[in-house]
């Protein structure tokens, strides 16, 4: 590709605006990319990108990453690519140097590229009953494919930094994030398609930008943050302060809000304070269901996406904390005036630039897609979280509102509220579950299932009443009503087919209509602007906590970098995990050139960091195959991995053979799929009389230390770390 570096005045003007964009974008992620651009803008953008890549060539290494969600018709429901991948695709399709020729929409190109793989995949399922899970090429590109219901996820890596397992995990996390964002709508593929791919391009691009941001935030955290590496929550170890904060959250925040008449039906269930990704204090109100580790980790990703803290491995410089008026700026020199502009543009005000040139006006439509939605600071995010209620039972995706209140850069308070009418969600779930079960039985050909019939019969009158109630609440129920009438006619009348396979379409339609009602009531975009805690209440809560923690602020930020220190000579690193509580303790891994940690700094620290990341992958590999202990001598280092069970009083229980998982099983972890919950359930079968807890310890020692000493030390470490891990979250 040869581009002329000489730009026209017009182009230069536009380029500066686009470069602003790029900067803005760069500040969120390491790669710059735009999509669906018109030709003119593309020209500018590509030229700008060329200039940029010439200036900072190191940020354009050969990455080639992509994540694609498509349905069975090979329609793109969502995609994310890095600049390298985008360039690659454009090289295959675009002749963008030639004037007047429009670049095919990037989305179409992607679609064309992947369609054969997707279609071949579904052919294989149809005929051989097996589907592709991965491809790897001679130049070490990896493609991982995974199908969830009717959605096929494809993740690609071309830089060797992610393994097949990492890509699979990314896919599962993506799925988890859509569940958190869309709730039970994900259970209907037709609705999910509409949700992920809104007809309106502006809306679609806004949504996709949001999802891309989340995905990039997750990738960054997994790459840099130990708690996202091992998928457990890290807490700041300061029992006194923690206790004070919990008390404060309870008395001054949660109780005050919940006792107020102005709360608009919202009820705070959980409140917690995060210092970067570490948890300082967590309070749940008495009648709240406990928050699962999986959901908590997902929420931290959301918070990090809203208020990205520059908590990658090389910060912690004190000057940065003092300079708290300038929020985090990534990958751009701090002195540049452009950055401040871009930060402002992103944070507070709508985009400041507009194109005036008629040529560029052409691109206006597509430019709209770039606009950042004017953020409303007091608007909560809609999140769908798992709830297990004492009397009512288990509900996987209950709507909540999340208020993320930034205390200082790097420190945020999060309030999770139960929204009014959330009982509708519970009802929908109950009926939905009944129809899912019925569908399954019908598919298996159980016909007029003896168990199925009463189940739906049981619900019959309740569902009638439920639909009437909905109608009285100004909720569109015509279609649900029609579907239900149709179902009843077919299932319960003599003229209908009864409970046979012929009932399947009606059954599926009921599912869709229930999901549709759920969507109407709870989807983020359907949230009315009045349905929230009034801004002044949020502000008051914020300022109270700010006041409370004012003196601790700097301490906390430093503490988050030096959570725990090590004393054993020869021990290089460890990670201690309480899998029952979903918590981890580990010394920080600072890879900064500015600050030295226990590991020293620079290349050595990077080396150790890579080793730790590798050790976690290895231990998971062995655990997947049923090995709960592994010791590995690798170069100059000695690694240990232990998994064991204890009862509540700390007595170590006997090890049992744990199942070896198949190759295509979900990745081991707690964020997207909670392996340890399953493991604990499995173990508890043989220990039903007591509460079983599960722990893991990973250590890295110098290889010269005799093995006996290393093992001795591991057991000391496990004993010592047991105490802090027992400080309850609540």
């Amino acid at each position: 590709m040869v581009f002329s570096p000489v730009l026209s005045v017009q182009e230069r003007k536009a380029a500066s605006l686009v470069s602003q964009r790029l900067h803005q974008h760069n500040s969120r992620c390491s790669s710059s990319r735009q999509l669906g651009l018109d030709f003119v803008e593309n020209q500018i953008w590509i030229r700008t990108q060329w200039i940029f890549s010439a200036l900072q060539s190191n940020s354009y290494n050969n990455e080639m990453k992509c994540l694609l969600v498509s349905n069975e018709k090979a329609e793109v429901l969502f995609y994310w690519t890095d600049s390298e991948f985008e360039q690659h695709v454009q090289e295959q399709y675009g002749h963008f140097q030639e004037e007047g020729e429009r670049l095919p929409a990037f989305e179409d190109s992607i679609n064309t590229l992947f369609a054969p793989i997707i279609i071949s995949g579904s052919t294989m399922v149809d005929i051989v009953g097996d589907s592709y899970t991965s491809f790897s090429t001679e130049n070490n590109h990896i493609y991982v494919l995974h199908q969830f219901d009717e959605c096929l996820y494809i993740a690609v890596n071309g830089d060797g930094e992610e393994t097949e397992e990492d890509l699979k995990r990314k896919i599962y996390v993506m799925k988890k994030l859509t569940e958190v964002m869309f709730g039970m709508v994900t259970l209907s593929s037709a609705l999910l398609r509409k949700e992920l791919r809104p007809q309106d391009t502006v809306q679609r691009n806004r949504l996709w930008q949001k999802l891309r941001g989340l995905l990039e935030t997750y990738s960054r955290l997994r790459e840099q943050d130990q708690s996202f590496l091992v998928e457990a929550v890290e807490r700041l170890i300061h029992p006194t302060l923690c206790e004070q904060c919990i008390e404060f959250l309870e008395r001054r925040v949660v109780q005050q809000i919940n006792n107020s008449v102005e709360r608009a039906g919202e009820e705070v269930l959980h409140a917690f304070i995060l210092v970067h990704t570490k948890l300082l204090a967590f309070y749940s109100s008495r009648n709240a269901s406990s928050l699962t580790t999986s959901d908590l980790l997902a929420l931290i990703i959301l918070v990090q996406d809203l208020h990205p803290s520059k908590m990658d491995l090389d910060d912690g410089a004190p000057e940065e904390m003092e300079n708290s008026s300038v929020p985090d700026v990534f990958y751009t020199p701090e002195s540049s005036p452009l950055d401040r502009e871009s930060v402002q543009a992103r944070g507070e005000s709508p985009p400041v630039f507009q194109f005036v040139d008629p040529d560029i006006q052409m691109a206006e439509d597509s430019l709209k897609t770039l606009e950042v939605q004017t953020p409303d600071p007091s608007a909560p995010s809609r999140v769908f979280l798992e709830a297990t209620l004492k009397n009512e039972g288990f509900f996987p995706m209950m709507p909540h509102s999340m208020y993320c209140l930034p205390l200082w850069p790097g420190i945020s308070m999060v309030l999770l509220t139960k929204i009014p009418d959330s009982h509708i969600a519970m009802n929908v779930y109950v009926y939905l579950e009944a129809f899912v079960k019925l569908e399954k039985r019908l598919c298996e050909g159980q016909g007029a299932a003896t168990r199925g019939q009463p189940s739906i019969q049981e619900h019959r009158s309740k569902l009638d009443r439920f639909i009437r109630t909905l109608a009285s609440m100004d909720i569109q129920t015509t279609q649900l009503q029609n579907a239900w009438t149709d179902f009843k006619n077919k299932a319960f009348t003599r003229s209908g087919p009864g409970f046979t396979k012929d009932l399947l379409p009606s059954c599926r339609n009921m599912k869709t209509q229930l999901c549709s009602v759920y969507r109407q009531c709870f989807a983020a975009e359907c949230m009315s602007s009045s349905q929230r805690l009034p801004p002044h209440m949020q502000e008051r809560a914020l300022s109270m906590v700010q006041e409370k923690l004012m003196d601790w602020k700097d301490f906390l930020l430093v503490k988050s970098k030096r959570n725990i220190t090590m004393e054993f000579p020869g021990l290089i690193h460890f990670v201690y995990l309480d899998r029952s509580g979903g918590q981890m303790i580990a010394p920080s891994l600072n890879v900064s050139d500015r600050t030295a940690s226990e590991l020293g700094k620079g290349p050595l620290a990077h080396f150790i960091k890579d080793k730790v990341w590798g050790l976690v992958a290895t231990s998971r590999r062995y655990l997947q195959k049923g090995y709960t202990t592994a010791t590995i001598r690798d170069g100059d280092y000695f690694y240990c991995y232990f998994l064991w069970f204890e009862n509540e009083s700390g007595y170590k229980l006997e090890v049992i053979d744990i199942p070896s998982l198949p190759e295509d099983s979900a990745p081991i972890g707690m964020l997207a799929w909670d392996y340890y919950r399953k493991l604990l359930r499995y173990y508890s079968k043989s220990h039903q009389s007591e509460v079983v807890k599960c722990y893991e310890l990973l250590t890295v020692h110098l290889g010269v230390i005799p093995t006996e000493y290393i093992l001795q030390h591991c057991s000391q470490l496990a004993r010592k770390l047991w105490e802090p891990s027992r400080i309850p979250l609540l």
Binding site: Q92, L113, P116, I117, S120, G121, T123, M124, I127, V128, D130, S131, Y132, T133, S134, F135, S136, T137, E138, N139, Y143, V156, G158, T618, R621, Y622, K625, G626, Y627, T628, T629, A630, T631, I632, R633, D634, G635, F642, L643, W644, F645, K652, L653, E654, V655, I656, D657, I658, P662, E663, D664, Y695, L697, T707, E708, L711, Q712, S715, L717, A718
Partner: protein, 680 residues
């Protein structure tokens, strides 16, 4: 003669196919036209088409996206090692339990094996029918799957005789026979096999593996010449020789031709440790059996005798004490030993004479053979007819009639002949550029063949003799033409533009025809890789044949009288020791009727091996679950796995210095010493 499929237990290949994309380009083209070979062959054609079509399509799509061929394709229940080359696609599927590295190795071995016996793939399919080549693929597949335990699915290792039950002196004797053979400068490298197992080898493991393919079959059918055999067969039913055209990569050839000093240097300096496994050449027997004099043995001065140095005083013979083992023919003493230069000088004048004298005749006979070999299928029929005539009228010898059982086989033979001639041409042409004296060697071909015929093939009549002579001597213009076409062929087949890096055979592209000489004495086979000139050099043949005959007989008798031996020493432990350099396995896991602990051992071994193969720096690992703990250790030269049997002590699995699992390394070191495995 379809290969019998191995039992399902040991079968590691679920599907294997070779598919040619270029045959299926247009809308109307049938997928089945692109399928060259499909295993298992009883798969319904519809399913074959589906699998080939889908996999080939998806692989092409992915490789276009990544600009690189697909190497591994995974499904939920199986995985495919894939090789994409030109328009060809090989895919071999295994169950998911087998490590990726093992599956990919398996496919590479299979393709290498095919190329070793048949030359470049495209050309093979021009020369032979798909049915014939299908039989060969089946045979190679069968051979590679022939391992006796599941461990063989993990380590693609050579089958060796159990050295613990054999007098070490016999191994020494075998090694000495090989060394003696190398006094003939045309001999590149050799190995001795007994009943399908390696006794001693000088070749790299990959080559030994290839050489062994037809051994088992030949052994079972006793007197029959191997299906792919070429040229003559000599001697009684108990002892005879076969030479077969084979193809070596230039790397392999270079490695065997170069002097030991150079090789030692190269293996140490330029080869990454992980690669050394397939490229180091060590004499197994010597290093294994001799304990004294290790220093001198490590240098292995006799492993590959210097061939270009005529004046080198220390010929291997002088260092041998076991002279009684050999009965050197006078030719060895008289002919200029170890000197290619001398030899070529010696033959040059004569060969020139021949060349002139037989010129016109040669052109007449040569033509069909040459074109046959070059343009393949078009003239195949004609060549075959021609050859049939010749053989039918001329050949009445028992040895040859034994070989030719049917028209089909005859056709086959002739095709090979013409093919190999074409290839001799190629090699000569190629070598002309690099090495002047090769030309001299080439021209002495007819003389060699004549002598060869006179000395060994007593029943062959004159006409056949003359034909063979003539075939070896083409006219100059034909040479030129042939050279051009062959060059093009070679370029197209072996070095396509933008060819991606592949495993060895495909990477360096050029396959050089060489000859595999096999001398059989009942169950014992001496297999030598020799220069192509060996076939036509009667002195060399005689020298090798006679020098080894007596000792081979003696060795065979000794090996036969050795009892098969009791099973390996059983102890309260299970172990496997894999020699990465020699590609051999020592284990006390036997057969398929493995108990649960053996299964646990194999499972852990597969996992650890996979891990070791990914991480060079990994030295040792212990993995433990509730019922077993396995210790694995790894260097560039070897991998050892050890499991202590018995019910493990009850424990919690939490870190505990008293845990017995952590004493495994110590136990392994002690226990395995008596198996000759030194972990210190």
């Amino acid at each position: 003669m379809a290969a019998t499929p191995p039992s399902t237990d040991s079968r590691r290949c679920l599907f294997f196919f070779l598919y040619d994309n270029s045959k299926v380009q247009k809308e109307g083209d049938l997928t089945r036209d692109g399928i060259y070979y499909f295993y298992p062959d009883d798969t319904p054609i519809d399913q074959q088409e589906l699998l080939c079509g889908q996999l080939a399509g998806v692989c092409r799509c992915v490789s276009e996206l990544s600009k690189s061929p697909v190497r591994l394709l995974r499904l939920r229940r199986s995985k495919y090692a894939v090789c994409m080359k030109d328009s060809f696609l090989w895919a071999l599927s295994c169950v998911v339990d087998i490590p990726d590295v093992s599956v990919c190795d398996f496919l590479n071995q299979l393709i290498d094996l095919f190329c070793f016996y048949n030359g470049p793939v495209r050309q093979s399919y021009q020369l032979y029918s798909q049915e014939e080549l299908a039989q060969r693929w089946a045979k190679y597949l069968c051979h590679l799957q022939g391992g006796s335990t599941e461990l063989h699915n993990i380590f693609s290792c050579l089958r060796t005789i159990d050295s613990t039950h054999i007098d070490p002196l016999l191994l020494l004797k075998a090694a000495l026979i090989l060394q003696a053979c190398q006094r003939c400068p045309l001999v590149l490298s050799g190995c001795i096999l007994y009943r399908g197992r390696v006794v001693s080898t000088q070749m790299p493991p990959a080559l030994t593996q290839k050489v062994m393919v037809y051994e088992t079959e030949t052994y079972s059918q006793d007197n029959r010449v191997a299906a792919n055999g070429l040229c003559s067969s000599v001697g009684t039913s108990l002892s005879f020789t076969v030479t077969t055209q084979v193809f070596l990569t230039t790397n392999e050839l270079h490695m065997m031709r170069c002097s030991p000093v150079d090789r030692a240097c190269r293996t140490h300096c330029s080869q990454p440790p992980s690669r050394s496994r397939n490229s180091r050449l060590l004499s197994r027997t010597l290093s294994d059996t001799l304990t004294a004099d290790t220093d001198s043995l490590n240098l292995e001065p006799t492993d590959c005798p210097p061939k270009s140095n005529a004046t080198k005083p220390s010929s291997p013979r002088s260092s041998l004490s076991d002279e009684s083992c050999f009965s050197p023919s006078p030719s060895i003493v008289n002919s200029p030993l170890n000197s290619r230069m001398n030899q070529s000088e010696y033959f040059t004048p004569q060969s020139h004479d021949h060349s002139v004298a037989n010129g016109p005749n040669s052109s007449k006979v040569k033509e069909p053979c040459l074109t046959g070999s070059l343009t393949g299928l078009n003239t195949k029929e004609r060549v075959a007819e021609d050859a049939y005539e010749k053989l039918d009228s001329g050949c009445s010898s028992k040895s040859i009639s034994k070989v030719i059982n049917s028209d089909q086989e005859l056709n086959h033979k002739e095709k090979i002949k013409s093919f190999s001639n074409g290839y001799q041409l190629q090699s000569n042409c190629l070598e002309n550029h690099s090495d002047s004296f090769y030309q001299d060697n080439q021209t002495d071909t007819p003389e060699g063949q004549q002598l060869n015929a006179n000395n060994h093939t007593t029943n062959t009549n004159d006409r056949l003799q003359r034909d063979t002579e003539d075939e070896g001597r083409p006219k100059n213009e034909q040479v030129d033409k042939g050279e051009q076409i062959l060059k093009d062929n070679v370029n197209n087949i072996c070095n396509p533009p933008n060819a991606p890096l592949q495993h060895e055979t495909l990477v360096d592209g050029s396959l050089v025809p060489t000859v595999l000489y096999q001398h059989r004495v009942r169950g014992l086979v001496l297999a030598l890789l020799v220069e192509t000139d060996f076939n036509t050099d009667p002195t060399a043949r005689e020298e090798v044949y006679h020098s080894s005959l007596a000792s081979l007989n003696g060795l065979e008798a000794h090996l036969r009288s050795t009892s098969p031996g009791t099973p390996s020493i059983q102890g309260p432990y299970t172990f496997t020791h894999y020699d990465c350099i020699q590609n051999t396995l020592t284990t006390n896991v036997c057969g398929h009727s493995a108990g649960p602990q053996d299964r646990a051992f194999v499972k852990a071994t597969a996992l650890l091996h996979s891990h070791f193969s990914q991480t060079d720096t990994l030295q040792e690992a212990i993995v433990r679950n509730a019922s077993s703990a396995v210790y694995g250790t790894h260097t560039t030269a070897q991998e050892t796995y050890f499991l202590q049997q018995g019910v493990p002590v009850r424990n919690s699995g939490s870190p505990d210095a008293q845990d017995s699992a952590f004493s495994l390394p110590k136990k392994a070191r002690q226990r395995l010493l008596k198996h000759g495995v030194n972990l210190l």
